[in-house]
Symmetry: C2
Subunit: 212 residues, 2 copies
DNA sequence: GTGCGATCGCAAAGATCGCTGCATTAGTCC
DNA sequence: GGACTAATGCAGCGATCTTTGCGATCGCAC
């Protein structure tokens, strides 16, 4: 899911040891966060010790914990979901949304997201990774098939936002009552597509397209 | 939910000085966060100094910064929005959503929310305050008027979630292009009500009610 | 008004963090 | 294979945080 293990390969010397250190530190952050280490106890010396790396290295390469978390979040939330191609828009969106929802169900992922959000705006924005790009790709597929597609922002508002909201602010209702995850995702996708097909006529840019 | 100024109102002595200290500390946290103090620089001694209170007091009463932030967030995000009564469901929802959106536009509020989310699950959930209760109240008003109302979860998914998502993960698009805040809110509310009126018949519990 | 107990301020000690020189290792280029 | 240089390890320092014990203050009940 994470592809290769190093993310900022653009450095001047991305060779063997640097990549190993980076991977170890990233892994350490994810492990610690997953183990439920409180945000205030998650400090650079702790991360360094877990990674088997000297704390100085972490200070020099990432500077602050916020930057480190941002890097880890960006590395974690990009490229982990492959854009599906089931042959139809409904299938693509449902499959993709299910993948996203499953990702957000993971307590480790959620913990990393919380920590990143707390670290600041940059790390926060990194949590959505390339979700918009994935949506755009799915819509483009369908558009090339000649189908009518909803607005990208409509998908963000109608599918992505509810998934993230529930994951963040109502995590308790995960295994309580309520519809199964798959069913919930299908309902959300269905609603978005219903607006779209309904608004192909006049009020497309009025009721559905609610953003840039 | 505690009504008075203190969050842990169940204490043994909620009297004058304790209340003053609590208010001063809460105020200090909000002020510091509003001033853009980085999360890693927001420490208990700093808060105490700003509040004109000894750090020991803060340590003893709140223990950790996470708990303090959780208390402040809960205090901040409850009771700040009065449920409107404009005489109709559309007006009520639009007015309430606009209030919520305006609240989320405030950088201070946003920063506090970020810090709280980073502080843990409890503080995170406190950020939504009694939003669900407010929605339920609005829907109840309309129900008593005899009107058809959408599901509470439909409003959460269709209005609340998009507002929170944008505020958290795409704060940059605040004053860029795109529709005015009011227009955006109206579009979201319009969509939710469109599903509802459309689903009054058969598929109410299928397409609209996507959760418990 | 008086007594009790919770709460707060104060000062000092212990612990941890974050940073800065210097020596060493290990990629990378020729 | 050899030289060059980025990247890491190491030790130590100052600053800050966090805790602890004690006296003083203030709110509450009688």
């Amino acid at each position: 899911m994470t592809g290769s293990d190093g993310t900022e390969g653009a450095g001047t010397r991305p060779g063997g040891r640097s990549a190993r250190v980076r991977a170890a530190v990233h892994r350490a952050v994810q492990d610690l966060v997953a183990e439920g280490v409180r945000t205030e106890d998650l400090t650079i010396p702790v991360v360094a010790a877990r990674a088997g790396v000297h704390a100085t290295t972490v200070y020099r390469r990432w500077g602050s914990l916020a930057d480190l978390l941002a890097a880890v979040a960006e590395h974690r939330f990009t490229g982990d979901v492959v854009v599906p191609d089931t042959g139809g828009l409904v299938g693509d969106l449902e499959r993709w949304s299910t993948d996203v929802a499953r990702d957000l169900e993971d307590p480790d992922t959620l913990a990393l997201m919380r920590a990143s959000i707390g670290a600041g705006e940059a790390a926060s924005c990194a949590c959505t990774g390339d979700r918009r790009a994935q949506i755009a790709a799915i819509l483009d597929h369908e558009r090339r098939r000649g189908g009518d597609v909803p607005d990208e922002d409509a998908v963000v508002d109608g599918v992505l936002a509810p998934l993230y909201y529930r994951a963040l602010f109502e995590p308790f209702s995960r295994d309580d009552e309520g519809p199964a995850p798959g069913e919930r995702v299908r309902a959300l996708v269905g609603n978005v597509l219903a607006w779209a097909s309904e608004a192909t006529g006049e009020r497309r840019s009025q009721a559905v397209s609610v953003s840039p």
